[in-house]
């Protein structure tokens, strides 16, 4: 199967110093759902912006549907759909008017426009509110309208930037069901960014985990979880964890033990049977335990494994926010001089 998206050493530096994306390389097969998973500020949106010709890369190259993103931005925009994380529909227009405008912008034939607009309105459960101003829409309706706008010209590659941000679990599930159905029908490629681990796990064929502008791991969700080598038992001793560590390493079935923030993470094929042995080892050494828990392989664990940090703890400003902040600090300094 040919590649729909190819990125080679894609790098984006803001203001000459903030490296938001650092030499990212990957490929997405045609018809695949490929997820970019990472916390805020990891470089997901910046990568997506370069792939959609919204931002120019500082170095490296990328092609989407065979088109170089720098050399053919105009043709590229005609072939891709883009759903932003925020609502970009015109609130002073109705849902139908927004779709008609998008149809004109993306070159849907005038004769086919009413049919295509009605088809998407029906499909995305917006037909009843099609002639209402978008400013009266709920959050879920706006998200569905964004998707309809992104799909108006039946794109070959659909880019979704945190598309379910702010939706409740039911809304998220409904959104992904629609995307899944549309993909099955059209065979389009989907590239999405998300920081919802469960979403990436459930929706994507393959995932790249991005952290601080670099891809730290990539593969199918199953492959990534398999790389953990089984379950993780986390042990929080009351005493010095370093004393307990060698005893845990010596337990049968343990493949690795790592110490992080006073907690020992013990890898093993079967956590259920290891827990009594862990408790026994600690008791033998006279070390009390504040807690022992079993964590099945999850993308949360995968992220921790490859970055050394809990997924949630790094949520903060985006790379763009950091760049804007830096620019403001620099200009303030210049003014002060």
């Amino acid at each position: 199967m040919p590649d729909a998206v190819i990125a080679e050493g894609l790098t984006k530096t803001f203001n000459g110093s903030v490296k938001a994306v650092d030499g990212v390389s990957f490929s997405v097969k045609e018809g695949e759902v490929y997820g970019f998973l990472g916390p805020n500020g990891a470089g997901k949106t910046t990568t997506l912006s370069m792939l959609t010709a919204v931002l120019g890369p500082t170095s490296g190259r990328a092609t989407v549907d065979g088109l170089d993103v720098v050399q053919h931005p105009h043709e590229l925009k005609q072939r891709i759909g883009l759903v932003f994380q925020e609502s970009t529909a015109d609130q002073d227009l109705t849902g139908r008017e927004n779709l008609e405008l998008a149809a004109a912008l993306f070159g849907v034939h005038l004769r086919d426009t009413p049919k295509r607009v009605n088809e998407l309105l029906d499909r995305l459960a917006l037909a009843d509110s099609a002639d209402r101003l978008v400013k009266t829409y709920s959050g879920g309706m706006r998200r569905r309208l964004e998707l309809a706008v992104g799909m108006i010209h039946s794109p070959r590659v659909l880019f979704l930037d945190e598309p379910t941000l702010g939706l409740d679990p039911q809304g998220r599930a409904g959104f992904w069901k629609i995307v899944g159905d549309l993909r099955k029908e059209t065979g389009m490629t989907v590239f999405l960014t998300t920081h919802y681990l469960d979403e990436a796990d459930g929706v994507c064929d393959r995932i790249a985990i991005i952290d601080r502008g670099k891809i730290v791991a990539a593969g199918t969700p199953t492959e990534l979880k398999d790389r953990l080598g089984g379950d993780i038992v986390t042990v929080r001793p009351l005493g010095d964890p370093a004393t307990l560590e060698p005893a845990l390493k010596a337990l049968p079935g343990v493949t690795a033990v790592t110490l992080q923030d006073g907690t020992l993470r013990v890898k093993c094929p079967s956590g259920d049977s290891l827990i009594p042995k862990v408790v026994g080892a600690a008791t033998n050494l006279g070390i009390g335990l504040a807690g022992v828990s079993l964590r099945r392989p999850s993308l949360d664990e995968v992220f921790l494994e490859f970055t050394g940090r809990e997924f949630r703890e790094d949520e903060g400003p985006t790379a763009t926010d950091r760049a804007v902040f830096l620019t403001r600090v620099q200009s303030s300094r210049r003014r002060l001089r």
């Binding site: 959609t52 010709a53 919204v54 931002l55 120019g56 931005p73 105009h74 925009k77 005609q78 883009l82 932003f84 925020e86 609502s87 970009t88 529909a89 015109d90 609130q91 002073d92 227009l93 008017e97 008609e100 405008l101 998008a102 004109a104 912008l105 993306f106 070159g107 005038l110 101003l133 706008v149």
Partner: protein, 280 residues
């Protein structure tokens, strides 16, 4: 420029204008306040009645270049000035579209900078022409309700009416270009409105929209002669009151306006293209 994209974007802009009467009212507010307050309070030409009857026409002509009274002279100035005040919102809309993400959506589509700029320019220049005629009608109506009103003393021909429309349209094109350029390059609404105020008042105060021409010092007449608002207002006054006291025909002033509009269009096109290009 792609005609379908451009016309779809223009339709969007026009729909937004129609659905936002507050923007129309804002464009009208300043000229109406000037007409009802400043124009009525400052209609000094009634004091010319103190002069001997034989001296009155000469004094009027030298001061007001053929207008029958100050209010009529001034009202023509305000009709022209609508071409400036009614275009303010075009740049503000760009900034709000940036803040609300709408411009991001358009920018991510195959629409070119020419489609985006051209649609906003056309929609933003059509509205002031309509508003100018509303102000013109209001200025005439004021005379029927016991206030000073605009008295048209010349016969307005089809060519004259076309010249008036052209003058307002060219002035609107010029200022819509300027405000669009500001809108595309400025990120914060506060900065935009501060700049617009810093532009509007000097433009008004260095034009012949308010002052009786004959009462202006020579240095101010020199500046005002090149002010685009003056050029548009002179076209209106020539066609409404006659051109006997003007050094040039209306088309000469229109040529000057074309020059201003082209220059501003060129600058605005350059700045807009730069602002809408993919960020390097």
């Amino acid at each position: 420029m792609n005609v379908r994209r451009w016309s779809a974007l223009t339709k969007r802009e026009l729909l937004k204008i129609v659905r936002n009467p507050a923007a129309i009212a804002t464009g009208l507010l300043l000229p109406i306040l000037y007409l009802i307050l400043f124009g009525q309070g400052f209609n000094f030409t009634s004091s010319l009645n103190l002069l001997p009857p034989a001296d009155r026409p000469g004094a009027l002509h030298s001061l007001l270049l053929g207008a029958p009274d100050y209010f009529s002279y001034f009202a023509a100035g305000m009709v022209g000035f609508v071409g400036v005040t009614a275009t303010l919102f075009v740049g503000a809309n760009v900034i709000f579209d940036k803040l609300f993400g709408t411009l991001k959506r358009t920018g991510a589509s195959p629409a070119t900078a020419a489609d985006i700029f051209g649609s906003r320019l056309v929609a933003g220049s059509i509205q002031p022409v309509g508003l100018a005629f509303l102000v013109l009608g209001l200025a005439i109506l004021l005379g029927d309700v016991g206030l000073a009103g605009l008295h048209v003393t010349a016969t307005v021909t089809v060519v004259g009416a076309a010249e008036i429309v052209a003058a307002i349209l060219l002035l609107s094109l010029m200022f819509a270009s300027l405000f669009l350029a500001l809108g595309f390059t400025i990120e914060q609404p506060q900065t935009y409105f501060a700049l617009v105020n810093a532009i509007n008042l000097p433009v008004l105060l260095t034009s012949a929209a308010l002052y009786p021409w004959g009462a202006m010092p020579a240095w101010l007449q020199g500046i005002a002669s090149y002010n685009p608002v003056t050029l548009a207002v002179e076209v209106l006054r020539i066609d409404l009151f006659g051109g006997a006291f003007y050094p040039y025909a209306a088309w000469v002033y229109l040529l000057g306006l074309i020059g201003w509009a082209l220059a501003m269009f060129g600058i605005a096109t350059f700045l807009t293209q730069r602002a809408l290009a993919p960020k390097a």
